[in-house]
Amino acid sequence: MQGVVVFQSQDNTCNIEGLKNHYNAADGAYIDAICFDNINFKYEGIMISRAQIKSLIKREPGFEDITCSLRATVKQPKGILKESKKVMAIARKFTDEVVRPMSLELDKKMHEDPEYLPWEYIQKVNEWGLYTMFIPKIFGGQGYSLSCLFYLLEEIGTACLAMSNLIGVHYLGYASLISSWNMKMIDKISRDVARGEKTGEPCIISLAITEPNAGTDSQNIELMDTGNLACHAQKTDNGYIINGTKIFISSGHLSTWHIVHAYTDLKKGSENTIMFAVKTGSEGFSFGRKEKKMGQKACVASELIFNNCFVPDENVCIDNRGLRNRSKGIWHSNEQILAYIWGASRIGVSSFGAGAARGAYETALKFASETEINGQLLINHEWCQCMLADMYINAASARIAYTEGNYANGLYGLWKILNLKPLYYLMKYTHVKFLDKFYMWLWNKPVMTLIFRKLCLDFQKDAETARVDGWGSLAKVLCTDAGVKNCMMAIEIMGQAGIRHDRRAEKILRDAKLLQIYEGTNQINRINVFKRLIAPPYPQTEIFTAGNI
């Protein structure tokens, strides 16, 4: 045989029959090429022990940290693939029939009258069943896997991010509720949503964390105690009294349930966070102003005002009574709950980013394929082809990134339990009536909450929390930056047409810019990527401390 054989030795040893040669390379070195002349040989493979494999794949970046999708192909139920296709098809139909025909007019209407509330769209979403679609069957929903949600959000986001967010933010509230693992409350609110679908009176959930003087402070456990938290919860005999204000609450004015974070000790919020479910109409709870935003106008950003608002104990999702006996302690459990929320919700924002990237790309592509510049279709200018290719790459990379984050959630995060094959198939193939009959009574038993908190808070490993939270941030930064970048490029390709509202590109840009800000600015998310995915092997690292800021 003549030629060059290129191979890589992992255990520094290789045997080649005929040559009888034994190579001992330095640790980690690669043998790049060996030349053979007229020698017959048989390659026997690389000898590597189990211990070596275990040790080598643990090396940073760890195999588990960077290959969520690979692991998911084995662990994830096969049915999710079929479901994802169905969800994408439904999303495309909904986008064609509802979203695209309404989006520009709705945006205009909101521009003209910022007080307007888009109830007609909310009704449509409710009619199409999209508010119960991803609620598990055991809680009265349709039971599509939460893993499929993000494909729906991306599809709708290609036509209108605000209208996609009016669905996404409902599941943000729902995900926050789930992260408390209070099974009674999850069941109660889920069934309210399902009832709203049947009666035609939409029941939506919002999440209220941000405060006027505490944006970053309220979202990062390290900053809570030195921050300016102001939403106070005072314990009374049968519940709590909340005082304070929440701002920038997406879909607040449209929601029936609000998952609210308040603090019994404003100076020590990290260990005194209470998660409440407050219903619209509760005494002492009212809506304040609606923010006047640059984009995503249809998804109203609300001020929520709590003035001696009494919340009974039964509407407390989780407080220190539920965290006191946790193996990780209260501080770390609160950090874990926030990680569950952000790890999931930032994948939602990432899917919006991917939607924006695709929407901008598709808008520019359509324009380029119809418009002549200097006597030649834009799509035939080489520079334009390269710009469109860059935009396609951005959109595709964004989808890959949020899909990876989605897998992280499915394997280690919020919907890990629901994606376990026995539970997944039990819910998928069991009739709702049967589930209700045999399981509904269970959720009211406190023991169920105890079991789920044990499984999801105590048994979740730190590395798993880091992976879920880290990938949430990584995907969020990558996808939302890609979205804004594509919008900028679309407007450059389209020129004068790009800055007109009726050609869509400018609206996508205005909408997309918000993605880089909410759910933690991309700067804060970069710090979180460092904290979760880079810093662990470096114990000397300081994050959010006086020294490193």
Binding site: G227, N228, K293, V484
Partner: protein, 372 residues
């Protein structure tokens, strides 16, 4: 602008700065509501009285005959707070420059001499296109009374509120285009509602269609591209000055906010990542100021490559303005995205203005062609 050598220029700078800060800024949010709110006539009238529309116009035509630095100073100061007015001034100045390039002082005199209000003084023009790039120009036909125009002009800036417009038009069967002056109140002119756009809400554009509307030929037939290039070369730097003004406003508002806003128990200006973003913004701003000043100087000294200086400066400063205003929102977080502050408007305006005089990638290619 970095250079204010002459006393006259310093006075213009001061007047524009004070006007912008005291008169324009307080009503910015309200003005931005147009077309769903009232048009800001009273503020424009004040700017008109202060001669902000007249800086480049020769004294013989009722202007103040200043250099390019004067209009750049005015536009930069105004655009710090509200570049919609900058867009109105730039559009009107563009029409003057086309008429001057075409040696059509007579027509220019007709337009300016009897204009006692800004509304009569304003002339509409498709500021965001390069007529050479498009195949959809109006068509002119010669008849015994002169010329009549038919067709549609998209995104005619000030088209809905001006009495006159300068329209790029092709003679039937000819490849080159010419400019025509038309009266927008003539029968046969149809105007759309104001077009909702990304930025410059109070510098409104309209789609206008013409059905055999009388037009006056500007300069020589078929020489439109020459006049456009003369105008765009000079005014591209004025548009860059607008971008520079937007950058100044964005940086100042961001820095002021960061000095006050506290998170994690300390002012956010003390967070090193925020500092780094602000530092980059400051560097970009200073560079933009230098670039615009140098280009103005090159033009005023009539240096051989002044046109290339102006075009390169404009492309570069517009890009920097888009990046800087993006960061201007980012360091302020949620409030930067809200209309209560000026940042979101500056972000929109910066991207909007980048489209002035045609597609950015084509501007880059033409720049290369001009130097190799």
């Amino acid at each position: 602008m970095m250079i204010s050598v002459s006393n006259e220029l310093k006075m213009i700078d001061k007047a524009a700065f004070e006007y912008s800060r005291k008169i324009l800024a307080p009503e910015r949010e309200e003005n931005d509501k147009f077309p769903y709110g009232p048009f800001f006539d009273h503020l424009i009238e004040k700017a008109y009285d202060l001669d902000f529309f007249h800086s480049l116009l020769p004294e013989s035509l009722g202007g103040i005959g200043q250099s390019i630095s004067a209009i750049c100073t005015i536009l930069e100061n105004i655009s710090r707070e509200d570049s919609s007015l900058g867009g109105i001034i730039l559009t009107t100045t563009a029409t003057h420059e086309i008429l001057l390039a075409a040696d059509a002082q007579g027509l220019l005199k007709q337009l300016t001499e009897n204009a006692d209000t800004f509304k009569k003084f304003m002339v509409a023009y498709p500021l965001f296109s390069n007529p050479s790039e498009t195949n959809h120009l109006c068509i002119a036909e010669k008849n015994k009374n002169g010329y009549s125009l038919s067709g549609a002009q998209e995104f005619l800036v000030l088209g809905g509120i001006s009495d006159h417009a300068i329209i790029p038009t092709k003679m039937k069967g000819e490849a080159e285009y010419s400019f025509f002056l038309v009266n927008l109140n003539d029968a046969g002119v149809e105007k759309s509602e104001p077009i909702q756009s990304l930025g410059l809400h109070s510098c409104p554009a309209a789609d206008v269609s013409f059905a055999k509307v009388k037009g006056k030929l500007i300069g020589k037939q078929g020489d439109g591209e020459t006049y456009f290039e003369a105008m765009a070369s000079r005014l591209s730097i004025a548009a860059a000055a607008m971008a520079c003004g937007i950058m100044k406003g964005s940086f100042k508002e961001a820095a002021d906010y960061c000095k006050k806003r506290v998170q994690g128990g300390r002012k956010i200006i003390d967070w090193s990542e925020v500092k780094m973003t602000l530092a980059q913004m400051a560097i970009n701003l200073k560079t933009a100021e230098m670039v615009v000043s140098s280009a103005c100087q090159a033009m005023e000294n009539n240096e051989p490559d002044w046109q290339q200086c102006a075009k390169a400066a404009a492309i570069h400063v517009h890009e920097m303005a888009c990046n800087l205003t993006n960061d201007g929102i980012q360091v302020m977080g949620g409030v930067g995205y809200m209309k209560d502050f000026g940042q979101e408007k500056r972000f929109r305006d910066a991207k909007h203005i980048q489209a002035v005089f045609g597609l950015t990638p084509m501007k880059k290619l033409r720049y290369l062609e001009s130097i190799v």
